[in-house]
């Protein structure tokens, strides 16, 4: 009887510790999100979106240039990264299905997903900034696109693999060539999944700072010229948070809130689509 009690107590202690660990994880989430919300909402104002920065140390001003710049960099990154990623994923799941080449590229993509983004920044600096002679927006987009491609490629591959093979056979039986089957049957069946992959990849790069530090750099003036240095929210947050002025800190919190809300909404939206399309998994 004694041994049984000891085992029960041991089990209880271990399970309590696990529960504490879960609470510990949730505690940080609430702590960080709470701070971003409280500090961010306090600093939100229409001026933040409508005004450009004022000289350092002066009150007022906003981050219109950074919002526009961030949108442009992210938009062009998506424009480059998504087609390449979707097409590449198509190759792995369809034309190269079951071949060694598909496995190798798939594994390499998984590794690339987690490669430090700052390294990609240095790579782009060497090929798109140094030869041009100055920082530019295109370099920023290119760096983000390289981060996006493996993410989109892997999710596309997984989603296409979920489409039952019999569907393709049914289309083949009607005499459809393979490319038509892919475009009209497979893509249609996996559309929700591919869309989720795209949303998650945008969420992944929207908060990237390191690769932008020495590609698109920063610009204290409003600019939509992608051939020149262009401001971005994330680099502005870095500059403002490290800076000495309270007004800068407040704006950095507000910008952080906007980015966090944007990313969390994309993440949740992606999950909702998957749940609605594929049921509970």
């Amino acid at each position: 009887m004694k041994r049984e009690r000891k085992r029960k107590i041991e089990s209880f202690i271990a399970l309590s510790l696990s529960t504490l660990a879960a609470l510990f994880g949730l505690f940080w989430l609430v702590f960080i999100l709470g701070d971003v919300l409280i500090e961010g909402i306090e600093a939100l104002s229409p001026a933040l979106f409508l005004n450009d920065p004022v000289p350092p140390g002066m009150a007022g001003g906003g981050l219109r240039n950074a919002f526009v710049g961030q949108l442009m960099i992210t938009f062009f990154a998506t424009l480059i990264g998504v087609p390449v990623g979707v097409l590449g994923g198509t190759f792995l799941a369809e034309y190269a299905r079951g071949r060694k080449v598909a496995r190798v590229i798939s594994v390499l993509s998984d590794i690339m997903v987690s490669v430090p983004s700052i390294v990609i920044g240095t790579f782009i600096y060497a090929i798109l900034v140094k030869p041009v002679g100055h920082f530019n927006g295109w370099a920023g987009s290119a760096a983000l696109a390289i981060i996006m491609i493996p993410v989109v490629l892997r999710t596309t591959e997984d989603m296409l693999s979920l489409v039952p093979w019999t569907l393709r056979e049914a289309a083949f039986a009607l005499g459809a060539p393979y490319y038509k089957v892919i475009i009209q049957v497979v893509y249609r069946g996996a559309a929700a999944g591919i869309l989720t992959g795209i949303l998650l990849s945008i969420a992944r790069v929207a908060g990237e700072t390191a690769p932008l530090l020495f590609t698109s750099f920063n610009n204290s003036y409003f600019s939509t010229n992608m051939n020149e240095p262009i401001a971005s929210l994330t680099v502005s947050i870095f500059q403002y948070a490290m800076g000495p002025y309270d007004s800068w800190h407040a704006q950095a919190w507000a910008a952080s809130l906007m980015i966090t809300v944007f990313i969390l909404m994309l993440t949740i939206l992606g999950r909702v689509i998957i749940r609605w399309r594929y049921g509970k998994r």
């Binding site: 271990a14 696990s18 590449g88 034309y95 590229i105 690339m112 430090p116 090929i127 892919i182 948070a241």
Partner: protein, 313 residues
């Protein structure tokens, strides 16, 4: 799965286009290696490999550079992060798979994933404005007056608690990698066949004994892969650490001193490098980081693949 379809020209073209798109990943990997290698070649020629890795110099004025200080900071911050994150993450995974009532499983899973989605710049800024003061005012003095009094261990907590140091950086990193480790461990735990667990319960095992003797042995490959993957991520984390580590190129024995990691050095100095050899040395650091994290991630992937294969035979 051999595909039988009539070769028509559009199909051939489409397979070539998609094939090239998928090869882009390979091109990036080889391109990054090649470009970083050529860019850093002046530094490689001047400082060699072993000398660069072991030299503690980082002196732009005398143009003498070594990676040891950055490597040391990277290693220590990552070690602290894993030390905190592994037990917590495994605890979370045990909670989600074995303890939590069904209606809580999904919300907690989502919460952990949201924690993983928060970008690192937010962690960094929050660390600088919220965590650093807490560390400097409460936690670090408390550590000094308790653990700091113990001989040998006390060395780790010497100095003035400023909050901008290796310990804070390690804690921020740990918060960042807990979600990854937890979700991969959870997936690994879920691969344990239900029937084996049921059998253990039928023999009268307690819940903890089932976790300890059935679930963990079954999923140790996957959990280990998850830990190595988190390690690979932690090595390359930049912004979360850049705010709270200072940029101090010295090897310190105390965890309460500012230091530098490879990523922080790159982020702070890349745009300021004023001489060719300085820039080449920074590229050299980037190359070392790329190779290190690539190898780490490849090892992780190897274990995760083996873990999957065990069950899908």
């Amino acid at each position: 799965m051999p595909v039988l379809f009539k070769k028509n020209p559009i199909d051939v073209a489409f397979s070539i286009i998609t094939g090239l798109a998928s090869l882009s990943v390979l091109v990036f990997i080889i391109g990054i290696l090649y470009v970083l290698f050529t860019e850093s070649s002046p530094a490689i020629e001047k400082f060699g490999v072993m000398k660069f890795l072991t030299s503690t110099d980082w002196d732009p004025v005398r143009e003498s550079f070594g990676a040891a200080t950055s490597l040391y900071g990277t290693a220590v911050a990552t070690a602290i992060a894993l030390f905190i994150a592994i037990p917590v993450a495994i605890g979370i995974a045990v909670f989600i798979t074995e303890i939590s009532p069904d209606f809580l499983k999904s919300p907690i899973g989502i919460a952990i994933e949201l924690l993983a989605a928060i970008p690192s710049i937010i962690y960094g800024m929050w660390g600088l404005f919220v965590l650093v003061p807490i560390m400097a005012d409460y936690i670090e003095p408390a550590l000094q007056s308790t653990l700091g009094k113990i001989p040998l261990i006390g060395i780790l907590f010497e100095g003035t608690p400023m909050g901008i140091d290796l310990l804070t950086a390690g804690i921020i990193l740990s918060i960042m990698i807990i979600p990854f480790t937890a979700s991969i461990s959870r997936d690994a735990f879920n691969l344990t066949p239900e029937i084996v667990k049921e059998s253990a319960y039928a023999l009268g095992a307690t819940k903890w004994e089932v976790v300890k003797n059935v679930v963990i042995p079954y999923s140790k490959l996957g959990v280990f892969g998850g830990i190595v993957l988190s390690l690979g991520r932690a090595l390359g984390e930049t912004m979360a650490v850049a705010f709270v580590l200072g940029n101090n190129h010295q090897i310190t024995t105390s965890l309460l001193d500012a230091a530098a990691t490879i990523t922080v050095t790159l982020a702070n100095e890349f745009t300021e490098a004023d001489s060719d050899i300085y820039l080449a040395s920074l590229f050299y650091l980037a190359l070392i980081l790329f190779v290190m994290s690539f190898i780490t991630l490849a090892i992780a992937k190897f274990f995760l693949l083996r873990a999957e294969r065990r069950f899908t035979r």
